[in-house]
């Protein structure tokens, strides 16, 4: 598979969960995917906080990041729904609105950058679907993930629908299929499509409101008897993992980023996936998988 993507890390992955970065680099290697580092990239910027402040500032900083990928000549891959939605939306706005594009380029010009609209923004999940494909993915599996998994999509992988290639935002199935392709069982649970609570800047402005949503979601997951949560978003990952500590919950529900679960199924050692640095220990699931 000769594919090349610009790896957009964002803030949470390199700074708070470098384990996800490690897993991404090792999984990409195992799949034969080339990831190019985006030198000089910044925060996407955080859509909840920046769009609340001012849309133009948000757009300019996002455009600057898009320019870096344009310079590398490849599409962007992200592993966080927040970065995905921020960069993807900015890319669409700038491509569609010539006046705004000129205004943004007027600023970027001073710093030797220009937005051309040459690249696409993709989520890691989309890349797996496009470049590997679900049937092919099954062939890559060396150690089937015999676990009961609560799949959490995260809001911005699916919405806004008119900017996504998804069939349904209320009852999607593609991520469940990608998880089941690894040998796991995706179990159903109450209010599965509910938000993790972190988005929209709520984690920053109203941590109690955010944790209240997290608590409800995790309780439903625990009640359904899940071994762990698998999510494709670093921000949801942070909210579920750290959130259990912050809210003082005694649920001990381990959280895996999709890329980490993919790594386990590919037969990579837990150390290569950074699985020992989560706030909530993942050892119960490793034990179940006979590591």
């Amino acid at each position: 598979m000769a594919v090349r993507y610009a790896l957009f890390l964002g803030c949470i992955i390199p700074n708070r969960y470098p384990s996800i970065e490690l897993a991404t680099r090792n999984v990409a290697q195992a799949l034969g995917m080339e990831l190019v580092d985006m030198k000089g990239a910044s925060c996407c910027p955080a859509p909840g906080v920046f769009k609340s402040f001012d849309k133009f500032t948000w757009l300019t900083i996002a455009a600057r990041n898009l320019c870096i990928a344009e310079g590398l000549g490849c599409d962007i891959v992200t592993l966080c729904n927040g970065c995905y939605s921020s960069l993807k939306e900015a890319n669409i706005i700038l491509k569609e609105d010539a006046t705004l594009q000129d205004k943004v380029n007027g600023i970027l010009r001073d710093f030797n950058k220009k937005f051309y609209g040459k690249v696409e923004v993709r989520h890691f999940i989309e890349v797996v679907q496009r470049e590997v494909g679900i049937d092919n993915l099954r062939r890559f599996v060396k150690r089937p993930l015999r676990l009961n998994v609560a799949v959490h999509y995260g809001c911005h992988l699916l919405k806004p629908k008119r900017h996504r290639e998804v069939k349904s935002v209320e009852r999607p199935t593609f991520l469940d299929e990608l998880v089941e392709a690894l040998g796991a069982k995706s179990i159903s649970y109450r209010d599965k499509m509910m938000c993790c609570g972190a988005g929209g800047g709520v984690r920053a402005s109203n941590p109690d409101v955010a944790l209240d949503m997290t608590k409800e979601k995790l309780k439903n997951i625990k009640d359904a008897g899940a071994d762990c949560v698998i999510s494709p978003c670093a921000f949801c990952h942070l909210q579920f993992d750290r959130g259990q500590v912050e809210a003082g919950l005694q649920l001990n529900v381990p959280i895996l980023h999709y890329v980490q679960s993919l790594g386990l199924a590919l037969g990579l050692e837990p150390e290569k996936l950074g699985l020992y640095s989560h706030a909530i220990s993942v050892e119960p699931i490793l034990k179940k998988l006979a590591y």
Binding site: C11, I12, P14, N15, R16, P18, S19, E21, L22, R25, D37, K39, G40, S42, C43, A46, P47, G48, V49, F50, K51, S52, F53, D54, K55, F56, T57, T60, I61, R64, K103, I107, L108, D110, F111, C155, H156, K159, P160, K161, E170, M194, C195, G197, G199, G200, G201, V202, A204, S205, N206, V209, A210, D212, M213, G274, Y276, S277, A279, S281
Partner: protein, 169 residues
């Protein structure tokens, strides 16, 4: 904000109403017929004294300052369920962002964490700095120990781009 507050409030402000509607963009709050489908899916419900459809209704009537002062706009997790469910293509989530923009513009109280995050990004390029974790096996984990490349230093050019964008405000 309750009905009582509404009765003692200053009354509708049509200028602010127009400003909020303009900021809400293509999703027109005046197309709303109060069916409350948005509120039916809101995960922030328990803490929203004001439900999304009520916020839309109040803005439409011109009680913009009152809604901003209620602080409810900051409880929206931007999950966009309301935007997808609305039969009239009104987007309460986008209106919440418009209200937050207005709060900044009018110098109203905004979450302290937001100003901190904004200046953190301006200064260092990221919301967070590299952190070290102590695992349950009492091992210190950081980027270096995981064999990951060093995070790049903040570039002066990034800060200048940020400042130039702010000048447009």
């Amino acid at each position: 904000m309750t009905l009582i507050d509404l009765m003692t409030s200053k009354g509708p402000d049509l200028g602010l109403r127009l400003k909020a509607l303009k900021k809400a963009g293509e999703h027109k709050p005046y197309d709303c017929y109060q069916c409350a489908r948005c509120s039916s899916g809101c995960p922030s419900m328990k803490l929203l004294e004001l439900k999304p459809h009520e916020v839309v209704g109040l803005v439409r009537m011109g009680f913009v300052e009152e809604v901003i002062e209620s602080g409810m706009a900051w409880a929206c997790a931007s999950c966009l369920k309301c935007k997808e469910r609305c039969p009239q293509d009104v987007a309460p989530a986008d209106l919440m962002l418009a209200l937050r923009n207005l709060a900044f513009e009018m110098g109203k109280e905004v979450p302290e964490a937001y100003t901190r995050i904004l200046s953190e990004v301006m200064e260092f390029g990221f919301v967070q700095r590299p952190q070290e974790v102590l695992t349950k096996r009492l091992v210190r984990v950081n980027r270096e120990r995981l064999g990951l490349p060093k995070m790049p230093e903040p570039s002066e050019r990034f800060k200048s781009t940020f400042l130039r964008a702010l000048e447009e405000l």
